[in-house]
Symmetry: C2
Subunit: 291 residues, 2 copies
């Protein structure tokens, strides 16, 4: 039996529509328009595309945005000065530092310079610490997107066995906290598996909800999934596809063909978690604006 | 067969001896003596005892210490001024704010005012966030004590299934991160169980290492433990004991009598995790001094 497909694109559109509605209400009430400032250092084409897409998404929900384009040779001290200036500006609701930064910069030090209240990526240590405290302010966008996708597709994690594969700072660890915390969308019993896990299939088969964020294709195959589980695939891996004009295609970390024969529901790649991440960035920017 | 008893008192003495040796070496090398300043607001007798014991422990490893005794009616603004002053003083290596604070104070706001580099309790959101990032600076004392106790008694968590019962900010959540991180004493596959867990016994029976930090007696009984597991009891509950002169005694969260018939090893209460917590406070104070 084929699994239900969890349509991240459609769910992300719902989130964006909610954000747009709340932005409209704010502005009608005479409050300020939420504003995102993106900082982009250097000429990496993929980073330019990401930032452009984020700004288009801001436009679509009625938020304003701008980009500070800095040359690759910008010194870290200059970047920190710009961040400090943006931290102080009341009209800047959220600040996004697009990664990767050039190799001469200390990425954690730059992130830590952000005002945590404007940290719409949710990756400042203060943001992560508040998540441990169970009082999240800014939740990292991808974990927040996974949670929202589960809730909006009717799979509340509360009381469920959740297994997360992958312990990155961007996804696995904050998601484990988020789904385990005593709050709406949480209260699951979460196991965090990783490259040090012995007998991974026996662990993943315990999952009623299985989230895979390992960063490699085919980490999870059908024999590793409990029949009837809900599977969320966070991976985005570009692999060779000679049959395509582009020569490549995107796949997740899960063997979609096989697993969709066993799971009750599965999120595809592309069109799953990816669109949710940008939608949650918009939600965080609105929150940073006080809305 | 009775379980091996993990003697927290003896292991804590080893940790303290290591710290004392490193303090001695620092001072011989002409470096400063680590100094702990405790802040104690109000007259709670238990808090006064805790602070006294921590200062005695400092003495014993050759660290200096002092206590700022403040009346219960101290305003939060006054307390924050004192914290800011101590944050700046180079001779103060570590600052400890003894909890609970009087009810008119916002405890998280007070903790967040500490300089994270002097946060020897490891409970500042920055300290917790750095633990999520996998780059811990100050690890909260009780989780650090549990990890050290496991390592020093020969039960390295690496590759093991660990179940933690209890998701407090003080113990369960930071311990889950610590034991799951890719680092010495980590690399375990950790499941965090709590009051929202369905069928707790089936979850706890998966554990090769079971850590119980639920804050209630008898949360874990023999039928909930996999034969041969290592059990660490973080609880300290005072219960009535009419047969004693004091009328009460301390017990953990684990049914010690029953579980010690099933487990391979178990930490007792008292004499288990408790002494480790103070030992790790000393280790953090030494670290805060740069040693």
């Amino acid at each position: 039996m084929a699994a239900r497909i969890i349509d991240g694109k459609a769910i992300a559109a719902e989130v964006r529509a909610d954000v747009a509605e709340r932005v409209r209400a704010r502005i009608e009430a005479g409050e300020s328009r939420p504003h995102l400032t993106a900082i982009l250092v250097g000429e990496d084409p993929a980073s330019h595309t990401y930032v452009r897409n984020k700004r288009i998404a801001c436009d679509e929900v009625g938020m304003s945005s701008d980009t500070r384009l800095l040359p690759a040779e910008t010194s870290q001290a200059e970047l920190l000065d710009i961040i400090r200036e943006l931290n102080e500006r009341p009209e800047v609701s959220g600040i996004l530092v697009q990664t990767p930064l050039p190799p001469h910069m200390d990425e954690p030090a730059v992130m830590t310079a952000l005002n945590p209240d404007k940290d719409v990526d949710g990756l400042h240590p203060m943001s992560l610490g508040r998540l441990v405290q169970g009082e999240p302010v800014m939740v990292p966008c991808t974990p927040a997107g996974v949670q929202e996708m589960l809730l909006r597709s009717g799979y509340d994690p509360a009381g469920k066995r959740v297994v997360i594969v992958g312990r990155s700072m961007l996804v696995g660890k904050p998601l484990a906290l988020l789904l385990g915390n005593k709050a709406r969308g949480g209260n699951a019993t979460v196991t965090l598996a990783h490259t040090g896990t012995v007998d991974l299939p026996s662990v993943t088969r315990e999952a009623e909800i299985l989230v895979v964020a390992a960063g490699r294709p085919n980490v999870v195959t059908a024999n590793m999934v409990r029949p009837g589980a809900v599977v969320i695939d966070v991976g985005t891996n570009r692999i060779d596809a000679p049959e395509r004009k582009s020569g490549s295609r995107l796949v997740g970390d899960v063997d979609f063909e096989g697993v969709s024969q066993v799971a009750a529901a599965i999120s595809p790649v592309p069109g799953g978690v990816g669109p949710m991440t940008i939608a949650m960035l918009l939600a965080n920017t609105l929150k940073a604006a006080g809305g």
